[in-house]
């Protein structure tokens, strides 16, 4: 982000007040704090505006695929997630060949769908691949995919066959995969003609930068880079080199999203996992199985959470196992780590429990208690609101760390309240020793 002085230098310096500010300097200071837009100045020259937009853009360009349903790639500003967090999560695409039964294939890909902690994980994209070599077959395949698949997609095809399908698909803004030294001019021409983002692929980092430089000069803005990483080591190192060069050295040729084209099976998933941790914006698979997809989607969720916001679970009642009208009632804070830990430990006991999550603004049990966000009144209200007290006449178990609220809570709830364990890991033992529900 440019400083106020850098902004000021590019403004007309007339203090005309048309932007609503008393002086150009005041306006420049608002710009530097992202509290005003460049467009608010009606007199700024086009050259200045372009210069400002370029210098205030994130070091990694945001490339958007699809229409309606979009995949956003890039827009990143940091090298480590703890600095500010990563912005646009890695997208995963699965291949559809123009030589297979497309309906069945899309059906199968759509089944790759999971729900986890209230979030839905699905395949983000498909990649329609030309295996036929026939422009008509490929075009028909793409048209059918567009009918069956609402989300973004990529077109994997050589330059000589691509145009017919691309002309039919361009309104959906597909990703063109890929240009290299051999087909460069043709692919760039197609990308420009149909305004679709283009992947540049070269296993040599120097020539990849050369391709990016040239494509940009020829007028392609939406570029995605494939470093041709053939293994884990290349994936980590090439992605790190590209990202550090873009962010720390402002090396513009690498200021684009990175992607990997992998096959399927164990090693492909391992590369995808490394790419997800290390700056990859897209991985295209030949195929992906559910036992590979669920851990991979979960990894992405973890890496791309905002590190500045404690992750919270919604206040509510979470039945574990199949609790009945006598099952014990546990409650705890809504800090997600607390929830996951307590839940896992209850599950371990194999004893059904009603778990009430109380909104503590993402704070853990003890912190929330000290901050006054986890008091008996608050807990009693949550238990009443969720209706758990009418679902079960079981005893209420207090987290051991806040044993002090037991008598007050007993009074408020008018039912048996006992003190649970201080450590979550002791819950299974505690539950097993609890006398069975009447």
């Amino acid at each position: 982000m440019p400083t106020a002085i850098e902004f000021f230098k590019l403004l007309p310096k007339t203090n005309c007040k048309d932007c609503g500010q008393p002086t150009c300097l005041a306006f420049a200071m608002l710009l530097a704090n992202q509290k005003a837009k460049i467009d608010d100045c009606p007199h700024i020259s086009k050259d200045s505006k372009d210069a400002l937009e370029e210098s205030s853009a994130p070091p990694i360009r945001t490339v958007v695929l699809g229409k309606g349903s979009e995949v956003r790639m890039g827009g990143e500003t940091v090298l480590h997630r703890h600095e500010r967090g990563f912005i646009n999560p890695t997208a995963y695409a699965v291949t559809v060949s123009d030589k297979e039964n497309i309906r069945n294939r899309i059906e199968t890909i759509k089944k790759l769908r999971f729900e986890r902690v209230g979030m839905v994980f699905e395949t983000d994209m498909v990649s329609v691949r030309c295996d036929s070599g026939d422009p008509k077959v490929f075009r028909d395949a793409v048209v059918l995919v567009m009918e069956l698949w609402e989300k973004p997609f990529a077109l994997e095809c050589c330059a000589s066959v691509l145009e017919s399908a691309l002309s039919a698909a361009s309104s959906r803004r597909p990703l063109i995969y890929h240009a290299n030294t051999e087909n460069f001019d043709d692919m760039v021409a197609l990308s420009k003609k149909y305004s679709c983002p283009l992947v540049l692929r070269d296993p040599n980092m120097g020539s990849l930068a050369g391709l990016a430089d040239k494509a940009k000069a020829m007028g392609v803005d939406d570029i995605v880079l494939d470093t041709g990483a053939a293994n884990l080591k290349e994936c980590v190192e090439k992605h790190t080199i590209a990202r550090r060069a873009a962010i720390k050295k402002r090396f513009k040729q690498f200021g684009y999203p990175l992607m990997n084209r992998v096959g399927s099976g164990e090693y492909a998933v391992a590369i995808a996992a490394v790419s997800t941790m290390k700056y990859g914006s897209l991985v295209i698979f030949d195929d992906l199985k559910s036992y590979e997809a669920l851990p991979l989607f979960t990894l992405r969720q973890n890496i791309y959470t905002d590190p500045q916001v404690p992750i919270q679970v919604k206040q509510g009642l979470y039945p574990i196992g199949e609790p009945n009208e006598h099952s014990p009632i546990f409650f705890t804070a809504n800090f997600s780590l607390t929830y996951f830990t307590v839940r896992a430990d209850i599950e371990k006991s194999k004893i059904p429990v009603w778990l009430q999550i109380v909104d503590t603004e993402g704070l853990s049990v003890l912190t929330a208690y000290s901050a006054g966000k986890f008091n008996p009144e608050h807990v009693a209200k949550a238990l009443n609101d969720s209706g758990v007290l009418s679902k079960s006449d079981g005893i209420v178990v207090i987290p051991g760390l806040v044993a002090r609220m037991s008598s007050k809570l007993r009074e408020l709830l008018d039912r048996e309240v006992i003190i649970g364990t201080t450590e979550s890991r002791d819950i299974p033992k505690f539950l097993k020793n609890l006398k069975p529900p009447r």
Binding site: H82, E156, T240, R261, V262, L294
Partner: protein
């Protein structure tokens, strides 16, 4: 890793595109370096990195992350699914350790769950078991107690006294207790795990407390708690990265090799639940769950990782080998 171009798609070569650009040098020279810890009979060394993990262009230390295979002396609370992966050899901890060695583990991580008074295994039995495993495998052994502080204190004292001429890793010193186990480690010239709970400052504090007590820095492994995939991995990933960055930037009290326990993956419902066919085969799923947890540990700075599943250990061994900074 094929580009995926259709075979029948003929490319016609266009203009010569030999113009390559010079890429800026992005390797970092850090003022700090991670210390080394000597394990076993002096034949195993962990730590020593002078750059961020997995980057051969800046990390001149060519050591790969070590893998410790988990063994327990009492299977009561051990997952049946994991037990089923060891062909019955898990019933004898020594046999089980030998199996880990044949898988390729660099260390054994022994958890003496049976010393819980409810289970009744004696400290003499435990000491003898540690010795037998060390002798049979010739691998360095990490020793955990049963998790009850008073019992473990006594156990560590006993093991340190009776297991001579073997350098063990005693686990673990934490905020709640470090004196007895530290004394035991110092007396027996053993190494020690310093545990902290997902916090850079606590990790540093533990190292300061231990060194103030008289433990040498070269005898400490720090465990900043590896939260598993889907259960807080994001926190661990960033805490580890921050620890490693601070250490390389010169914070001496964080220049201590890091050990991460990936077995927590087995506590995650989505990894081990077997009642939803849509989630896919559970053996493969939990194997990936643990492998990805270990990969995240490795990418964020782990020098040693503790593994439970043999399949996951095999995979992470292969990846770690490939990703050593050769």
């Amino acid at each position: 890793m094929d580009g995926g171009e259709g075979a029948s798609c003929a490319e016609h070569a266009s203009a010569d595109m030999s113009d390559t650009m010079k890429i800026p040098d992005v390797s970092e020279k850090y003022p700090g370096k991670i210390g080394e810890i000597v394990l076993g009979k002096g034949d195993y060394i962990a730590g020593g990195s002078d750059g961020m993990p997995l980057l051969s262009f800046e990390n001149t230390c060519k050591r790969r992350m070590m893998i410790a295979g988990e063994v327990v002396d009492d299977l009561t609370d051990y997952p049946e699914l994991a037990a089923s992966m060891f062909n019955g050899r898990q019933k004898d901890p020594v046999e089980w350790s030998l199996m880990w060695k044949s898988i390729g583990a660099d260390m054994i991580c022994l958890r003496l769950k049976g010393t819980d008074p409810d289970k009744g295994k004696t400290t003499e039995y435990a000491s003898e078991l540690v010795e037998r495993i060390a002798d049979a495998t010739q691998l360095p052994v990490i020793v955990y107690g049963c998790g009850i502080p008073e019992v473990d204190d006594n156990l560590m004292k006993e093991i340190s006294n009776s297991v001579k001429n073997r350098r063990l890793v005693l686990a673990k010193a934490d905020e709640e207790g470090h004196k007895t186990i530290s004394s035991a480690a110092i007396a027996g010239k053993h190494a020690l795990i310093a545990f902290s709970n997902l916090d850079l400052n606590l990790a540093k504090q533990m190292n300061i407390v231990l060194t103030d007590f008289g433990v040498q820095r070269s005898d400490i492994l720090m465990d900043p708690l590896m939260a598993p995939l889907g259960m807080g991995l994001d926190y661990s990933y960033s805490v580890n990265e921050r620890i490693r960055l601070a250490a390389l930037s010169g914070d001496k009290m964080l220049q201590i090799p890091m050990i991460c326990d990936a077995t927590g993956a087995w506590d995650v419902g989505d990894a081990v639940n077997d009642d939803d066919a849509d989630l896919g085969d559970v053996v493969n799923r939990v194997t990936w769950w643990e492998t990805m947890t270990a990969m995240a540990a490795m990418a964020s700075g782990a020098d040693i990782v503790i593994m439970r599943g043999p399949g996951a250990a095999d995979m992470i061994l292969g990846y770690a080998d490939e990703l050593r900074c050769d």
